[in-house]
């Protein structure tokens, strides 16, 4: 691992962090409406996992999807424009924060019915295998999706038919305000749920982007060489509320707990690693801050200056020709 490699990972996480902090500001200014679920604190998972795949591999996720979309390479301006509901957004303003799609990059979308996109992921993997291609599918979801019936149906079919899908459970310990201990029977080892279906499962520190990437590279190589499902549980923590409607701690968790977890901020951890290895120093991070800041500012400017969709767009895209 060289300097450029580590700084690039840092830069990707920093972009997601600053992009989302700016989205929160824009939400407060009512430039963004509806629900806005921030990924702040969980960036190492999307960045680490997506760093382990090829550009034409599929990614699909739930509604907390900004990070995955940016990590897959989508243009920040078009993502921000989508949040603003503008015609230049990835989905022409019809999807919004929870339903980002960038088909050109095989980012197959964010889905907002918990558990509902896991069967879709098995279908993408089915198509890959049916057409004898060698792509893999990364399917991200929170631990809150693990008890859903659709997740179990997806695990069973993926295992039964040996489909090349990697289920990545982002265990941030709370499904909205309900702690995992009160929601998932195998809460102390969520990965065990997948093993019950004969799916190989690993648990990784989701705050450590290098650990995530290292594990994912191994898993991806195995899945690509002989199609089969795999399961990765990434232990993480959401620093912000469930959505913008929710304060960062609320009644369901203490301020102290949030502060304690923030000491394991994935950006902080990677920064320390880079410094400890002598691969980067303060000026490097300042430069990255400046570059990312410019990208985010340009994204906001692009979104702000873009037009809303014309009224004629309302009834377009319901059906394909």
């Amino acid at each position: 691992m060289d300097r450029d490699d580590l700084l690039s990972l840092y830069r990707q996480m920093l972009l997601i962090r600053r992009f989302e902090e700016k989205s929160a500001e824009m939400y407060a200014l009512a430039k963004i409406g509806g629900f806005l679920h921030l990924y702040i604190g969980e960036e190492a998972i999307a960045v680490g996992a997506i760093a382990a795949i090829r550009a034409n591999d599929y990614v699909i996720t739930a509604y907390r999807d900004h990070g995955h979309c940016l990590a897959k390479g989508s243009e920040p301006g078009r993502v921000m424009a989508e949040l603003f509901g503008k015609a230049t957004g990835l989905c022409k303003g019809k999807g919004g924060s929870m339903h980002l799609v960038d088909a050109r990059r095989n980012f197959m979308g964010g889905y907002a019915i918990v558990g509902g996109h896991l069967p879709l992921a098995t279908g993408l993997a089915f198509a890959v295998k049916y057409q004898k291609r060698d792509q893999v599918v990364l399917c991200f979801f929170g631990e809150g999706a693990v008890p859903t019936g659709q997740a179990h149906e997806a695990f069973n079919l993926a295992a039964l038919w040996k489909l090349p899908v990697i289920f990545i459970c982002e265990n941030n310990r709370y499904g909205m305000g309900t702690p995992v201990q009160r929601a998932v029977a195998l809460y102390s080892n969520v990965a065990e749920t997948a093993r019950a279906y004969g799916i190989e499962a690993e648990t990784v520190d989701g705050m450590d982007v290098l650990a995530v990437r290292t594990l994912m590279k191994t898993v991806v190589t195995k899945v690509r060489s002989a199609p089969h499902p795999s399961f990765v549980e990434a232990l993480t923590y959401r620093f912000m509320g469930h959505s913008m409607a929710d304060p960062s701690h609320g009644h369901y968790r203490s301020k102290e707990e949030v502060e304690e977890e923030r000491t394991r901020d994935p950006l902080l951890l990677l920064r320390q690693t880079i410094m400890n290895r002598g691969l980067g120093s303060e000026p490097d991070f300042k430069r990255l801050e400046r570059e990312v800041g410019e990208i985010v500012a340009a994204a906001v400017k692009f979104a702000d200056e873009s037009p809303f969709p014309a009224p004629t767009a309302l009834e377009e895209d319901v059906y394909a020709e």
Binding site: P119, A125, N156, L160
Partner: protein, 325 residues
Amino acid sequence: MLISYREALNQAMREEMRRDDRVFLIGEEVGYYQGAFKVSKGFVEEFGTQRVLDTPITEAGFTGLAIGAAMAGLHPIVELMTFNFGILALDQIVNNAAKIRYMSGGQLSVPLVIRGPGSAAHQLGAQHSQSLEAWFCHVPGLKVIAPATPHDAKGLLKSAVRDSNPVIFIEAQLLYSTKGDVAEGEYTIPIGQAEVKRRGDDVTIVAYSKMLLLALEAAEDLAREGIQAEVVDPRTLKPLDVQAIVSSVQKTGRLVIVEEGWRFAGLGAQIAEVVYAQAFDYLDAPIVRVTGVDVPMPYTRPLEDAAIPDRERVRAAVRQVVKGS
């Protein structure tokens, strides 16, 4: 060529699977069992288990899988053993299949057919005797087809497989063994096109699926009473061929709508609304609907019969709009 409705569906799928490698069949018992109603007879032998996939009992799972496969460029045909079990897949159909194109701003599409029998057979009880077409028709992004004859079933299923959208294709258990003439050779029937199944000047009867056969029988009875009914089969329920229905009503001035589904918020209410809006001035009498009764389907035969439209109820409805009694 006189063949059964079942054989017509079999031919349609077989021809489409031969034409296009992207088409595959997935569902419970579609392979070695040859379909719960033997619609996929001979498919495993011809296409193999890669393209004819027996699934576990997991409707949300395999419907969602098919949707995902369609997003990645395949053209799945999902067989639901019955549409009652499709309720388990409603999240996938309504929240994913129907919306993915729109939510993605037209980037993705879901070319997919979901087919199987709807409506009642004989004494299968409340959970196996439902006509749910109105549910699907309500959802933007879906197309809904409910053919009544072997000829229509074949031509429309082929069109459904070639369509770039999710298509709900509703058959009926009591239609599978019915026979009819099917054109020789390759043909398709456009989605969204009604057909006048019987010409008449006195009254229009709109009926689809199993109820079309009932309407045609009733029309023959009524002809002996001197009433000439025009019977219009929409064939596709969404998009509905409004023009065909309105044109017929403009000619006859009277309309009876027959549907097996529950009355309240049923499809006939929507058809009536369209006709009132577009042909009110042509109507000589209020529209009459013949529908299923708003109860869960009872098991016992006399009550089941009473819950479903029959020939006499159709005749009575027609007499009412024609003679006002």
